[in-house]
């Protein structure tokens, strides 16, 4: 039995490509493509699909607010929200509104099918990047430096990461550091995120303040 999927997305070429990609998957049947809220609600009202792949940004509205409306018309319809960026807020909002999943629009198609199938089976799929910001409340009064024993930090940081830390303490902007290192802004940003993870902190400041202990 195929899963009937309705794609709700205002971005024409992306939708068409999605349909093409799904055509390789026999378990998924794209029953319709709609471009805005009204069409979506009409479609759901007339022939409710199993799953609605809902883009968060629609021409005439917001995907998140559409979740409730769809569920009001057809409570059995399951909804998966598609977003461009990997952000915690969207996941929380979507879950609170009653969506069964959140996926990134640039996900590998098989992964996407996996997500659809899991949701179809009554589960949920909330994508979370390994670099997603950890949910930890900053308590400024409970700060202490160094944040971790210096020897450990010394060991876990690669020479490249150490170089980045040196540049960071020189109060250079990320853009400048990226150009010094000859990497793109994205790469630098990812690397800094990794450094912060190694430090076990949430903010650049904590890392910067700890660094003098590691390398005075």
């Amino acid at each position: 039995m195929n899963v009937k999927v309705l794609i709700v997305d205002s971005h024409g070429p992306f939708t068409e490509n999605t349909k093409v990609l799904f055509s390789m998957e026999p378990q998924i049947e794209i029953v319709g493509i709609v471009r805005n809220e009204g069409e979506c609600l009409d479609f759901v009202r007339q022939s409710p699909p199993d799953i609605v792949l809902l883009d968060i940004h629609l021409n005439d509205g917001n995907g998140i607010s559409l979740i409730e409306q769809i569920q009001r018309i057809a409570p059995i319809v399951k909804i998966i929200l598609m977003t461009e960026c990997n952000q915690e807020g969207y996941v929380i909002a979507a879950r609170n509104k009653g969506a069964q999943g959140v996926i990134l629009k640039d996900m590998y198609i098989r992964e996407m099918v996996q997500a659809i199938l899991r949701v179809m089976d009554g589960g949920s799929y909330f994508y979370q990047s390994p670099l997603a910001f950890p949910k930890k409340q900053i308590d400024i009064d409970d700060m202490h430096f160094p944040v971790k024993p210096v020897e450990i930090l010394e060991k876990i940081l690669t020479p490249e990461e150490k170089e980045i830390m040196r540049l960071l303490t020189k109060r250079l902007s990320n853009k400048k550091i990226a150009s010094i290192l000859g990497v793109s802004a994205r790469v630098l940003s990812e690397r800094i995120n990794i450094i912060l993870l190694k430090f076990g902190v949430n903010t650049k400041l904590e890392a910067v303040l700890t660094w003098p202990f590691v390398e005075p």
């Binding site: 461009e84 807020g89 949430n202 303040l209």
Partner: protein
């Protein structure tokens, strides 16, 4: 030359001639005795027909009816002056006999006699007054025909008067000159009254003037003939002269009466009335002292010459009427004259009675009464003159500053009143100038309400003020007359009046000198009070207008300032928008466009080259990196422009994301405190964006300028207000400089933010100081 002579010099020459004639004849008269009787040759007997009581003849015992036997030891007919004028003047000895038979010889000495001199001075003075008044009239109004005519008229009369004694003594040419003057005078009299007070060139005037001119010519011829001894018509000449004068007087009076019949509002009528009054006064003493006795057949008074001095009032009134443009109301003049005349009448009766009781006069007779009456009049006149002189003197020396001083002060005050701008000054000036201890004014107006002003002692004394107010409300409607208040009242005078829909009352305090105000000063104070109240009302109106004008000016100034501000904001906005667009364009060009080009390059290789596995994997890996970069850069750009999360999820998630992002990129802590607001709370789009931008701007400013490592952001939803606070503990800045540089440089963003939030009905509060950190606060109404 002749014109000039006629115009000016002839008047000086005439005056000099007059004075020379006067002095010469006066000096001669002092040494020439005045015999003073007339006689007629009655069949060879020279019988005295009239005798002057002032003459030496009278004093020597000669009386009417006596027979003159010899003059200078000869028959009287042989005496030259007797031949000429039928007068015994110039004689040194006279022998006469009484009807009783006794004969007597008197010797008349040519020597200076003080008594004579004194008795002759009044006429000299009178003549000189005539000349002087004529001269002054001409001098002051030489362009007036009336003035010039009056000069000649008075010159002639004055000459005749000065020559009286000389002609009486038959001095050489004196009689001729006197006749000339007397007969010429009527011509000028008619000429004068036909042009003054009004031009009245009618037929009667013209004919009568012709008659008097002819008569004058005849008299002149006769006088010359008589003087040469060719004819003996002295009696005729005298009668003709009198007749001529009579015509002149009648025509003059007729002219005056014509003028008197004019309508009341004509100034000429007033002039004529004043001249008539002058004539009445001038001739009254003569009538009383000379005409009365003659009419009632009484003895003439001895010194009647003084009464002739009063005649000078006649030319004086003429002089006054011509020289002065503005004359007092003649009715008032008459009223004064009648009043004083009656007063003199009563006084003289009383005095006369007391004199009789006191046995100072023996019998009551018309003669004595008239003398008393004359003295009373003289007394009253002298009294007035002396009073006037003393008053003027005292005013000059400013001994008393009561009545006159007050007048002057009120005048002074009025002069300075217009220059006093502030209303308080008006009163202080009033108090100072009047020398009183205070002024209290109440102005009640239905529109503007009740206004009170107190100066001096009333300023701080509430009790006295309320006392006076009570008095004011009691006496408001009764009448509008100024009143004296009782001694125990704090003020002395109360002046109520109504002006411009306002009921006003002004209280004047006591004088510092403790001198009470006089009743006669009330009109001045009333006048002053009126002006003060008027000033106050005007100031009230002006004050209201000024307030309105100030408010308008302020509004206009504010709106101008506002316009400039907005202009500045628009300018910086335009600049910022262009800068932002440029930045975005550059971002896209540097990042995504370059990445896309690179991807495109790698794809071409994949398409065209037959790569081995390793190379293929490497190419794919490169492309993935590039695509990730592309995604990342584009996401960053989108996020920087306007984070989608704000529209998708709301304010708090957007702020959280913003802070996470900043904290990853900048070495800073940002603490978010929320109160009354949750992750799900949504607001209108413009409010969410404004709030987000406010916090973003606050954080960026703080990161850039404060040097602080920590920012605290507080978002509070209380009621229908969203309160946002961004606080740091950095170095802060000077708020004054912020005000100055609000529109340029670093703070233009704040100015725009302020504008934006105020558009939403909110407000921004910035508090900062050097080394005290900065707190930005915004309150936005959300419903």
């Amino acid at each position: 030359m002749w014109d000039k002579f006629i115009n000016r010099q002839i008047y000086y020459i005439a005056s000099i001639i007059f004075i020379v004639i006067g002095i010469v004849y006066f000096v001669i008269c002092l040494h020439q005795p005045y015999i003073g009787f007339e006689f007629e040759n009655d069949d060879g007997q020279w019988v005295v027909t009239a005798i002057d009581p002032h003459g030496a003849g009278y004093w020597s015992g000669i009386r009417t009816g006596d027979q003159v036997l010899k003059i200078n030891g000869e028959d009287p007919g042989k005496h030259s002056l007797v031949q000429k004028w039928n007068l015994p003047e110039g004689a040194s000895t006279i022998e006469f006999s009484k009807p009783s038979g006794s004969a007597k010889e008197i010797v008349l000495q040519k020597q200076f006699n003080l008594l004579y001199a004194l008795s002759e001075i009044p006429f000299v003075i009178l003549g000189c007054i005539f000349l002087l008044l004529g001269f002054m009239t001409w001098y002051k109004r030489s362009f007036l025909r009336q003035a010039r005519t009056l000069f000649w008229l008075l010159w002639l009369f004055g000459l005749a008067i000065v020559l009286t004694y000389a002609s009486g003594r038959c001095l050489p040419l004196a009689k001729e000159l006197e006749y000339f003057a007397f007969s010429a005078a009527p011509i000028l009299l008619i000429a004068f009254f036909s042009i003054f007070p009004v031009h009245n060139q009618n037929r009667i005037n013209t004919y009568s003037r012709k008659i008097v001119v002819i008569l004058f010519a005849i008299i002149l011829i006769l006088v010359v003939l008589q003087s040469l001894g060719l004819v003996h018509l002295s009696g005729l000449i005298r009668k003709m002269t009198l007749f001529n004068m009579l015509i002149g007087i009648i025509i003059s009076v007729w002219n005056l009466i014509q003028v008197m019949r004019m309508p009341k509002d004509r100034p000429e009528k007033n002039e004529a009335s004043i001249i008539l009054a002058g004539m009445m006064i001038g001739f009254l003493p003569s009538v009383l002292l000379i005409a009365f006795p003659i009419i009632f057949n009484m003895q003439k008074f001895v010194y009647t010459e003084f009464s002739s001095i009063f005649v000078s009032v006649v030319p004086l009134s003429l002089y006054y009427a011509i020289v002065n443009k503005y004359l007092p109301d003649s009715r008032r003049v008459y009223k004064t004259i009648i009043k004083n005349f009656l007063a003199a009448l009563i006084i003289s009766v009383i005095v006369h009675y007391f004199l009789y009781v006191g046995k100072i006069i023996k019998t009551i007779s018309t003669e004595t009464y008239l003398a008393t009456f004359g003295l009373s009049l003289l007394f009253l006149l002298c009294f007035y003159v002396i009073q006037l002189i003393i008053g003027k003197l005292l005013e000059r020396l400013s001994f008393f500053q009561t009545n006159i001083g007050l007048k002057q002060r009120v005048t002074e005050l009025n002069k300075s009143m217009t220059s006093l701008i502030s209303e308080d000054h008006v009163f202080e000036e009033a108090v100072k100038t009047l020398g009183i201890d205070g002024v209290f004014i109440i102005v009640e107006n239905e529109q503007t309400g009740c206004l009170r002003k107190a100066v001096g002692r009333f300023r701080k004394n509430r009790q006295e003020q309320s006392e006076l107010e009570a008095y004011f409300s009691r006496n408001q409607k009764q009448d509008l007359e100024a009143k004296f208040l009782s001694d125990d009242c704090p003020a002395e005078i109360f002046v109520p009046f109504v002006s411009q829909n306002s009921t006003c009352g002004i209280f004047f305090g006591h004088r510092y000198s403790h001198i009470k105000f006089e009743k006669s000063e009330l009109p001045f104070l009333t006048l002053l009070a009126g002006q003060l109240a008027y000033e106050v009302l005007m100031l009230l109106v002006i004050g209201n207008l000024t307030k309105e004008i100030n408010a308008l000016t302020l509004t206009s100034w504010c709106s101008q300032k506002r316009n400039r501000e907005l202009q500045g904001i628009i300018n910086s906005l335009t600049r910022m928008i262009e800068r932002g667009k440029g930045r975005v364009a550059k971002e896209i060009l540097d990042g995504p466009v370059q990445s896309a080009l690179d991807i495109s390059r790698w794809l071409k290789i994949l398409e065209k080259e037959n790569l081995d596995d390793e190379m293929f994997q490497q190419a794919i890996s490169r492309m993935r990196d590039l695509i990730n970069d592309l995604n990342y850069d584009l996401n960053q750009t989108v996020h920087n422009l306007l984070p989608p999360v704000l529209a998708d999820l709301g304010l708090i998630p957007a702020i959280q994301l913003l802070f996470q992002d900043i904290m990853l990129k900048e070495p800073s802590f940002i603490l978010l405190e929320t109160e009354g607001i949750g992750l799900d709370d949504r607001f209108p789009e413009d409010i969410e964006i404004a709030a987000y931008r406010f916090i973003q701007k606050g954080i960026i400013n703080s990161l850039r300028y404060s040097g602080s490592k920590k920012q605290t952001v507080r978002v509070k939803l209380s009621g229908d207000k969203l309160e946002l606070t961004v606080r740091d503990n950095g170095q802060g800045f000077d708020l004054d400089q912020l005000g100055k540089g609000f529109l340029d440089g670093a703070h233009s963003g704040l100015a725009i933010m302020k504008e934006r939030i105020e558009r939403l009905g909110g407000q921004i509060l910035i508090s900062s100081g050097m080394e005290r950190g900065t707190t930005l606060q915004a309150t936005i109404p959300v419903y």
